[in-house]
């Protein structure tokens, strides 16, 4: 059984705790043990916090990594933002001895030390590398064959590409392969790489973010998608609450429910919609629910 230090971040445990619960459930089913460590702090959040003082950002992130290292564990995150902070810190400090020494010197009084000897993974990496799509496919009890999914990977799992080396930034396909492994089909919509707009909505302009999500949703809907899947809680929030807001402003005339990938995976593993906490979502669709029910009969 592969073991990870479970890095939950802030957004999921505080705003979307059902996504924490569903992640725990499905990773257990996939024989991945998530070890809970209560010494972690916020990753720290890369845009609102990280940009103001790079050294503090790197140091607090290095402290989080050090805590997992002290237990001899790789880190598993369930958020693109946490991955963006921790993976970049790990890579930057490993590549710059002077900076690494400086950060370790700052950390000395806390008793922590960053070595960079363990791996930082988002859950997508664990699925691809520690489980494998073939084995994942074998675990599927209910192939989601009638369901068409619009995949949104999000910016901060792919970029900066020279560090993350994960997917094609112009045509991301990996999440689509992960969805295909569950038996579902994928929607080939034209605004696939457009941002979810969470940062724009919070620190920039709510109206601009709403326009963005409207256009993205329309582009998904055009391909007859039944639902959306994401790998990041902020993206989830935009497609759920953000969609509810955009629907009111623009009378969209349709609703496209979003599922965090572990929820979609949960459905394929045999959980019911209410068991993956779909009832807690703002945006639901009776057409999607009926299709799923019919398929699972």
């Amino acid at each position: 059984m592969k073991k990870f230090a479970f890095f939950k971040g802030c957004f999921i445990p505080i705003r979307l705790p059902h996504l924490e619960r569903v992640s725990e459930m499905v990773f257990k089913d996939l024989d991945i043990e998530l070890v809970k460590l209560d010494d972690f702090s916020c990753c720290p959040e890369p845009i609102g916090f990280g940009l103001n003082d790079k050294l503090t950002w790197l140091t607090l992130a290095a402290r989080n990594i050090a805590i997992a290292e002290e237990k001899g564990l790789d880190i598993l995150t369930i958020c693109n933002g946490c991955y963006y902070t921790l993976k970049q810190t790990d890579s930057v400090l490993k590549g710059n001895k002077e900076l690494k020494d400086k950060v370790n010197d700052i950390m000395r009084d806390t008793g922590h030390r960053f070595e960079g000897a363990f791996e930082i993974k988002h859950f997508v990496h664990a699925i691809l590398e520690d489980i494998g799509l073939e084995k994942l496919g074998e675990k599927v009890k209910h192939p989601l064959k009638e369901i068409k999914v619009a995949c949104h990977t999000g910016c901060h799992l792919i970029s900066p590409v020279e560090i993350f080396r994960f997917d094609d930034q112009y045509d991301p396909v990996i999440l689509e392969r992960m969805v295909s492994a569950l038996g579902a089909s994928v929607s080939d919509y034209d605004l696939k790489t457009l941002c979810c707009g969470w940062t724009l909505s919070n620190y920039g302009s709510k109206a601009s973010a709403s326009n963005l999500i409207r256009d993205k949703l329309k582009s998904m809907k055009k391909t007859q998608a039944d639902c959306i899947t994401v790998t990041c809680p902020q993206c989830f929030y935009q497609f759920d609450t953000g969609q509810a807001v955009a629907s009111r402003s623009y009378s969209l005339g349709f609703s496209l429910p979003v599922l965090f990938y572990p929820q979609l995976l949960g459905l394929a593993l045999g959980y019911k919609l209410d068991e993956v906490f779909y009832e807690r979502h703002r945006v639901k669709s009776s057409a999607f629910e009926a299709k799923l029910e019919e398929m699972l009969e």
Binding site: P13, R15, P17, D38, L191, G204
Partner: protein
Amino acid sequence: MILKADYESRDESFKTKKSSEICFKCGICCVVRGYSCHVSYDSEKFNPRYTFVYDCLGSSDPARNPNIWLCVSCHKCEEVCPYEVSPIKFIEEMKSQAFEMGLAPSLIMSEVENILTTGYAFPISSVTLRLREELHLEPLQMKAIEDLRILSSKTGFIDKMLKAKENHI
């Protein structure tokens, strides 16, 4: 004229990111919908002849340009720019300077304070506590607070934040 700042002020604001000076004003970073800057294609303020990146790079006082806060740090601009300009790095540097001057949005100020004092970026409400209980998730604990205090005072960030708060308008 897009880069309208006089050379001296440009040199001052660009000193940390010299590469911004070589922007060729080709517009590629902002005009390809979905593949380039997410801000530019959508907003009423910008168009292919006056893009978001022109607005940020060409401002005479870029750290005081309120539009810098529209940037989502998605890296698209640096990925598509044929001249390795990296507008994202420039804009991020301007945000950092603006923070010090007390010009960051209130949400950023409160997020920074939350992280340094509670270890979490967001406040924990009674709704969070109830939801966690309903889902049989353990209560949230934060053991990092003392470490965060030590580290952020050693890096000088606590002082920087206090100064930013004083200046905040």
